[in-house]
Each structure stands twice: as structure tokens, then as C-alpha cells.
């Protein structure tokens, strides 16, 4: 019970030196520059304490802070490229501290006010009545207390209400860089309002106008959110479902729905389909080390069957038996991402039936979107198997090439693997084992997700071009990924060849 303090009292208040670099901006001469500081802070110091120490050393240095307890959202900055709250993030020697990706006022101070103004606020019928806007009051009378949200509604609202308006998510969002999009937290705000029986108006059209369909569901927003609010799943997709009910779905998204209703697939093709090319059971060349059910997904089935065949060869050489049920259909991801949920349940049930094979515990995906969907959106179905991405399976069975390609390669994180399944280490380890030189690159959406490539192709292309620049900066010979959507889209937005990790592994088998 009596837990002793980890740090003895004497050391607790002995300051230690720390070295950091800070991006500063002086509006008087419009100079941006990196300045290095060595300051002294106590053990356990947060970034904010380092910033205070810098201010004590150089009183012209400007940054914001208020509560110092992770509650007000004043102090968000980028530390080593990622947005964090300076008051909760531990400071480390060598940190690079920069302002958020918002218009900079001075040093680390950015324009928060404009960003916060984009977040919609609840306008209850009662408050509108009090402001004497008669036209609205005719529709609804003063909100009586029995409009207090129910217990269940309260629970849902609370998940979205914890937002600190720190704008970390806006700073991390790739879409706001290329299109007029109010940002993730604005969408969170719209959903919080939509859940509330006290709101006077239906705001779904405003949400659409503010860029509801601009989100690629890349998951960056919640991975940087200090409150871990899962905006893509809890807000964007739900708002898109409301938009669908109001017939506001984008025409190209409607086409996908109709295609799925007709064919059970979200991608059509006149070429040969993967499922037509393979047997239902594929035995490995040697001893059987394991077996998995393979969920192919629409992209590999219709658009990139050769890549899927590369995977088949890699598994056959490594003792993995593949079971490939022919009755499998679209996982439903394009419908969930675009808010068109009507045929969803029947797809899910059909897949569950097709994939459930007695005695086989693992269903393997190699499409990041399918994997994330099967892992998260099938939860209510109580699946009798575990879903794993191909990278997890390869790691588990210790699949490694015996030689390396004499090239340099960088890795592009698929959003639905990186954020959707929180898998980023495995593919890097696998790729490093396969090439002479691995060059790391920070994750950023290529633009192909969330129905944006179909619905807003200009935005997808603009994001692709941002990614082209980042790939170019690595100087790598090729860019490797493990998602068919990324692979297909990046092919148009990269100066270097784009390859699937499994294609690399297969090449090594043959060389």
C-alpha cells in the first residue's frame, strides 16, 4: 500500500540541462528561423516547462499557456513533427518544437481564434427563443426539461464533448492543407450537435458545405487528439450516414452503393478476377507451418490481382496454407466510410459465414481498409476468428527473405493500417529486412481513402502531389506500401516505382 516515491526527494528538485531547438517567427521582419536553447529543468519536466525556462532566459520568446493541466488546450505545439499539448508531453533532449500548422502570429503563437470559430456551437431552441428569433421559435417551443438528453444520448454526447479546441487535429489533418475543409473538430462539433435533442435546427447541410466529404478518414486526427476522440468513426461516418438519409450523398458514392447492391463488390473489372484465378485451398510447397483464411477485398480481386498472387507465392514458400472462400464479398468499408449503411448487414453476415472455417483461427487481410473494417466494424457480430493483417502474419511466422534487394526504399504508411490498426512497426521491420537501405518517412495520407478519390478526385490528386514531394525528399529508389488503394493511387503521384511489400518479397524469392 505505501508506495514509495520513485524519485528520492533530493533529486526531485535538482535541475538538469536540456537541449532543444525551437522554430521562431518574428512578424516585424517576417523571419522564420530555428533557434537552439540549452535550459535547466526539473526531472519529469513537460515541454511547457522547457518553454517557460526559455522565456526566463529570453523574455522576447512568445508562446501560450494557461491551465498547465491538459484541460484548456492553449499550448498545443508540434514536437518532432507531431502536434501535442506542451503541458502534458514529456520534454526530451534534442526535441524540435514548432508552432501548429496554422497561421503563425509570433514564435509558437498561432491564430487559434479563427480555427476555433469554425467549430459549430449548439444553438438550442431555448437560446434562440431568448434571442427572439421568431421564425425559428414557431417550429419548436422553448426546450422543456424533458428534452434533457436521455442516459444513452448523454453517453454518446460525452464522447464528443470532451474536445479542448486545441486544434491538434486540424494541424495534423492533411485535407485542410489542400481543400476548404473546416477540419476534424468542426465535424466532431456537428455530430455532437446532431446527437442533441435540444438543438433547434438540422445542421447537416452546413456540415456538407464545411467539407464533410473532404475527410479521407486517414485517422490522423484522433491519433494526435489529447482526448482520443475518434472523429472519423464517431463523427464523420455518422454524419455521412445522416447526409445519406437527407439524400446528400455524393453521386459517385451512390454509384458505388448501386454497384455493391448489384454485384456484392465495390470495384468492377472486365479483366480476370483474383478469385477466379486461384483454388479454394492453396497448399504450401513444403511443410505446413500454419493456415489462414484469406480475405481478398475488392481492390486486389479486381484491380490488382497480380499483387495478391505475389502474396500467395510468398505464403506457399513459407509454409502457410491459404484457404480462400469464394463466397466472400465486399467487406462494406466503402459503404461505412461514405455513410451508406443499408446493405451493410447482409454483406457482413455473408462474409462471416464465408470466412468461418472450423478449426481456423485467423483471417488474414492484405488490404488495410478491409482489415480495419473487419477488426472494428464487425464487432457486434461476435466473429469466431481473429483478423490479422498480412504484416502481422508475416511477423508471427517470422517470414524473412534470405537476401536483400540492392536498392534504397521508403515506406508509405496506409492510413487504415497506421491509424486504423495501429500497425507501423511490423512493415518497417519487414521492409528493412528486404532492402539494402531503408529510409523512413513520416506518415501522411496519400488521398485515396474515405471515398475522396471517387467523390472529390481533385482533392485526392492534390494530396497525392503532397505525398510525391515527401517521397522525392527521401531520395529512395522505390516506395513500398501494403495497401491496394495507396498502391494504386500513389502510382500516379510518385516519380519512383510504387511496390507492395509482398511484391518485394516475391521478387526476392525469384532472384
Amino acid at each position: 500500500m505505501s508506495k514509495m516515491a520513485i524519485t528520492p526527494h533530493v533529486l526531485l528538485h535538482v535541475k538538469q540541462p536540456i537541449y532543444v531547438r525551437v522554430r521562431r517567427y518574428n512578424p516585424d521582419n517576417e523571419q522564420t528561423y530555428i533557434e537552439q536553447f540549452t535550459v535547466h529543468v526539473y526531472p519529469g519536466a513537460r515541454v511547457i516547462n522547457v518553454l517557460q525556462a526559455i522565456k526566463d532566459q529570453d523574455s522576447t520568446f512568445m508562446f501560450r499557456m494557461s491551465c498547465e493541466a491538459g484541460q484548456c488546450g492553449s499550448c498545443a505545439v508540434h514536437v518532432n513533427g507531431s502536434p501535442v499539448l506542451a503541458c502534458v508531453w514529456p520534454a526530451s533532449d534534442g526535441d524540435l518544437i514548432e508552432p501548429l500548422n496554422l497561421p503563425v502570429i509570433r514564435d509558437l503563437m498561432v491564430d487559434l481564434v479563427d480555427g476555433i470559430a469554425k467549430i459549430p456551437k449548439i444553438q438550442s431552441s431555448a437560446s434562440i427563443c431568448q434571442q427572439e428569433c421568431q421564425d425559428v421559435c414557431h417550429e419548436k417551443t422553448l426546450s422543456p426539461l424533458h428534452l434533457v438528453p436521455s442516459f444513452a444520448e448523454t453517453k454518446e454526447i460525452k464522447e464528443l464533448a470532451a474536445c479542448l479546441n486545441c486544434l491538434c487535429c486540424v494541424s495534423a489533418c492533411p485535407a485542410v492543407k489542400v481543400v476548404d475543409f473546416a477540419g476534424p473538430t468542426a465535424m466532431r462539433g456537428y455530430m455532437r450537435i446532431a446527437l442533441d435533442p435540444r438543438e433547434a435546427r438540422d445542421r447537416i447541410q452546413d456540415a456538407v458545405a464545411d467539407g464533410l466529404f473532404s475527410c479521407t478518414t486517414c485517422q490522423s486526427c484522433w491519433t494526435v487528439c489529447p482526448k482520443h476522440i475518434k472523429t472519423p468513426g464517431k463523427a464523420i461516418e455518422k454524419l455521412r450516414a445522416i447526409a445519406s438519409d437527407h439524400d446528400l450523398t455524393l453521386p459517385r458514392h451512390r454509384e458505388i452503393l448501386h454497384l455493391i447492391e448489384r454485384t456484392g463488390r465495390s470495384v468492377d473489372s472486365s479483366e480476370k478476377l483474383f478469385l477466379d484465378l486461384v483454388d479454394e485451398v492453396i497448399e504450401p510447397y513444403g511443410e505446413v507451418k500454419g493456415e489462414v483464411v484469406f480475405f481478398v477485398g475488392c481492390m486486389f480481386n479486381a484491380r490488382l490481382p497480380d499483387t495478391a498472387l505475389d502474396m500467395v507465392e510468398v505464403m506457399r514458400h513459407n509454409g502457410i496454407r491459404l484457404i480462400i472462400p469464394k463466397e466472400q464479398v465486399c467487406c462494406g468499408s466503402p459503404l461505412i466510410r461514405t455513410g451508406q449503411r443499408s446493405p451493410l448487414l447482409s454483406l457482413m453476415q455473408q462474409n462471416m459465414q464465408a470466412l468461418s472455417k472450423p478449426g481456423i483461427a485467423t483471417v488474414m487481410t492484405m488490404c488495410a481498409g478491409c482489415g480495419s473494417t473487419l477488426k472494428h466494424d464487425y464487432e457486434d457480430l461476435d466473429l469466431p476468428f481473429v483478423v490479422k493483417d498480412v504484416c502481422e502474419v508475416m511477423t508471427e511466422f517470422d517470414i524473412k527473405p534470405d537476401k536483400k534487394l540492392n536498392i534504397s526504399a521508403t515506406y508509405h504508411d496506409p492510413c487504415h493500417l497506421f491509424g486504423g490498426q495501429e500497425i507501423s512497426k511490423e512493415p518497417r521491420v519487414l521492409l528493412s529486412a528486404a532492402v539494402e537501405r531503408f529510409i523512413d518517412m513520416p506518415a501522411q495520407c496519400c488521398g485515396s481513402g474515405g471515398g475522396v478519390k471517387a467523390g472529390q478526385p481533385d482533392e485526392a490528386n492534390a494530396l497525392g502531389e503532397l505525398r510525391r514531394e515527401m517521397i522525392r525528399e527521401t531520395g529512395a529508389d522505390i516506395v513500398v506500401t501494403v495497401c491496394p488503394f495507396c498502391e494504386y493511387h500513389l502510382a500516379d503521384h510518385s516519380d519512383k516505382p510504387v511496390k507492395n511489400l509482398l511484391t518485394i518479397y516475391r521478387t526476392l524469392l525469384e532472384s
Binding site: 494557461s66 492553449s74 438528453p149
Partner: protein, 596 residues
Amino acid sequence: MSIPPRIKVHKTLSTHVLVIGSGGSGVRAAIEASMHGSCILVSKAVIGKGGCTVMAEGGYNAVLHPDDSIAIHYEDTMRGGGYLNDPALVEALVTDSPKRIADLVDWGATFDVLEDEARQFSKSGSGTSERSEYIPIRQRSFGGQSFPRTCYAGDRTGHEIISTLLARLAATCTVQINELDIIALLHNKDGDRVIGAAGLDIEGRLILISADAVVLATGGGCRIYNISTNSAGGTGDGYALAFRAGCDLIDMEQVQFHPTGAVTPWDARGRLVTEAVRGEGGVLLNTQGERFMERYDPKRMELSTRDQVARAIATEVKEGRGTDNGGVYLNVSHLPAEIIEARLPVMLEQFLLFDIDIRKEPMEVAPTAHHIMGGVRITPHGETTIPGLFACGEVTGGVHGANRLGGNALADTLVFGKRAGERAGMEPKQNTEISEAQVNAFIDHLMEYYTNTEEVSSARDALRVVMWDHVGIFRTREQLLIARKELERLAQVKVHAKTPQELIDCCTFSNMCLVGRLIVESALTREESRGAHTRVDIKTLWSDSESPYGHTVIRAEWDVSIEYKEREAEEREAGSKEAENKAESKAENKNTGGMS
């Protein structure tokens, strides 16, 4: 470095009501004032992020349950406050508090609510015209209360309140000005009325705002202590502004030390560990494993009032039963993990950041400067002793007496925010011509900072240590005199600004010195232990309710005095359950008596 050119007035604005401060009371006041005419709300932070409302965790006290009563809330508040509270203000607090939370619910606030089955809307059915008295909000126990009446939204209650208020404010015509630091109140030519304020923006530019009425809602000042729960802006600017403008301030010696602040790591010392932790069943233990509150308040234990629990913890530590880091243990690990996750998520998260899982192990806590009960003297309508100036929220005194009950501060902000905003809005149009001489005097004063030479940061740090070491939980005349001497010295330090942006830091430091002095002078004047003010050098021969003393009063030129309580009148009012306006008129009479 060359001295910047003489400061010019960058902009002059004019409005009917100017509200200074964007915490709960300021925003609530602006919402109300804007019903009566133009309104400007200024904040030294980004609106919604400054102040302490956004940080308030535990809750909001309101009588909602049919088994609770306004009279009991009144009595709890008076008893908790050592009967130093202004009865008329308490009457207003407890009477209005349920109405103010009903406003919030109407405007979209989402508190934790009762299960649908447990709700009863009204005794007469579901009529919409007649408001039910029972809002189905979940309530928990807080210290010093005879009934669980603290409404909450997890442990981010203040955040939910301020978000809702800002949503409501957005529907008004209020002009919001972010990051403008008010450095002085402006007075009319005769010097007998406040007619606006002067501020510096983040670039250090001087902006003047004239107004028919000014509402001071600047919050507290516990950042003048080394260890404090307050946000960075809690530097007590409002007390200093009001004092310089000539207002009466009362009970400035009454500083609440919240019993449970974090102890480690060093930089996080003082960060609030909400009373809700104890409200949900947390227990305090010393290093010998004793539940020591048994020795101090066996009846109420951990849910005793904050002054008592803070003294108990400080005593345990002083007598060698504290941890190496100078704290005691606060344990909730016996509670189900789901309860901790659902009702104390912010606490869970904050401790996890420092590798402490409160579901499994105890927290280490010690007292931390939290709230100043004293402040600007007001009537129940938020009128100060200076015409044209209104005040609400923590900057005021009298509502909480000598010790504030947990959950009464959020109620205070909304109750008196509305009252002050409304009364300010009702002020008639004034001649608000700004005196050039007054503005020039300021500019002269600001220009001095450019030629000074001393670092602000070291003087400020020294001030905080002086306050913590000599004006803390246990006080003596000797220690207070040391503090007075140190504060006089620090007030003379010629702090320096290199750039216009740094002028704000200099002004803030000067405010902090002044607030420290206000506390010290009042503490020397109150020669008794009462509530949070503990004079260990004086044997107090009476219980709180029998004290002959009333408010300490401090006003311009360091005129300090202590009022004597008219005991009979006091008792009559304490027992009174009469209509609010009646109580108010009495108190107003009494106040005027005290001021003349």
C-alpha cells in the same frame, strides 16, 4: 538596446457594457448584459481557454432533489464559511443556483444524468409551461454538505459549462476581444465613476474602451503563490484594478488552500486533484497507514471542509507522518475500476501521464493555493462601492466567507455573473469622455518599464516563494511582517521590458505584488483563526459562529480595518428563510452602514 518610441493609443472603442474576463462569470455577465445593449467581452487569454472555470473539475452545487432544500444549502454554506459570509449574497447564491443550472441545461449543457427510469419531470405530468423543479442531473457528495448536491459532467464540469456558455454567447451581439490584457480602469473627470478600461494587446499596443458600465470578472489570484492550482492567468489583476480604482475589498486574508494538490513531479506541484476523488470515496492515509481524518473530523472524515482537511494534511506532514515528497496518500484503488474510469477520467489520465495508475495505487497529495474567498465588496446585484463598476465571480468577496465549499464556486460564477451583467446592462447612458491626463499618466508609467533594468521573472519567482513561505496555511504576526517587508522590497524592484510585448509581464508583476500586500495587510488585521485563515500565534477564544469580528476591509491608501459583527442581526438572517429580495434589502442597508 534602444528605448521604443513613446506609446500611442492604438485604438479607442466604445460600448454600453464592458466585461473584463472570460471565465464562467464574465461570459455569463456578457450574455445578460448584451440583452440591454452593446457589449464587449475582453479576455487576456483566448476566450474559452483562460481562467479557472475551464479547469473546474468536480462540480456545481444546486438544490435539485426534492429531499434537499435551499435552507440546508444556505446553512451548509454559512457554516462552511465560518459565518463570515455575507448572508444576502449566500441567499442569492443558493436561491439562484438551480435556475442558473436550468439555463445551462436549456442551452445544451450535458451533465451526467440519471437513468431514464429514475427521472421525474414534474408532479403534475409533462406540462411544458410549468418547469419542473427536479432536473434529472446526477449529483454527488462534496465536502461540508449535508446532501449530495454537486452536479457534474464527469470531472470536466467547468469545461462543459464554459463550452455551453460560449455557445450561448455566440447567439448574442457581444463583441469578443481575445488576448487583451486590461491594465487599468478609466475614471471620469471627477474621478467618482468608472467609465472604461485600458489594455495592452499581445503586441503591446494600448487600447482604450469606454463604457457606461464595466463588469470586473477577472477571477482569482492564487498564482501569487509558488504552489497553486490556478491557471497561468490567475495573477489577481482584478483585485489590483479595483483597489487602484478606489473600491473596498473585504476578507482578502481568506485564501483557500485546497487540501489535495499533486506533489510530483516538481513542475506539477500544486496541480488540482479534485475533491470529487474524495466525493467518490477516496480516503486519506499517512505513511503509517492511518486514516488520519479520524483525529481531526471523525464525523465528516475526508468530506470535511477544505480548510480543515488542508490543515490536517499540513499537520500530518509537519509532524513527520508525510511522504518524502511532503505529502500524504489519497487512495481510490479500492473502488471499482469502471467507477474511476467513468467519474474521474481526467484524474486517471493526468496521473497515468506520470506513470501512476490510480486504479491500482494511491496518489500523493498536499495542500495547494486554490481560491481567494475575499475580494471586491459587492451587493447582491454585483454593484461595487464605485459607481459604474460591477464585479462577479472569484474577484468578489463575501459569498464564501472564510472558506468556500467545493462546488459553490461554479454556482457563484453563474449566479453573480447573471446578476452583475443584468444590473450593468441596466445602467443608463453616461458621459464616458476619457481623460487625456489619465491616459498620459499611464503611458508615462509604462514608458518607465523600458528604462528599468531588473528581470521580471526572478522577481516574480521570489514573490511566489515569499507568499508560500510566510503567508501560507499557518500564519503568525512575525511571519506576516517578514512578508510585508519582502513585498515592499519587491514592489520597488524596477522591472524591465525590452519589447512592447513584455510590458504586460511588468504590469502583471506589479499587480501580483499589490495582491500579496492586500492579503498580508488583511491577515495582520484579522487577529483570530477563522476558516482558512489560521493565526497560530493567537489563541482564538470563540467558535466561528461566535466571533465578534466581521469582514476585514481594505481600501485605497492602505486603509485597513475590521468590522464587528452585529450578532443579533446576523443570527436573524442566518435563520431566515424569507424571500430573497427581502434579505437583499437588509444586506444592502447593512453594507451601506459599513461603508460610510
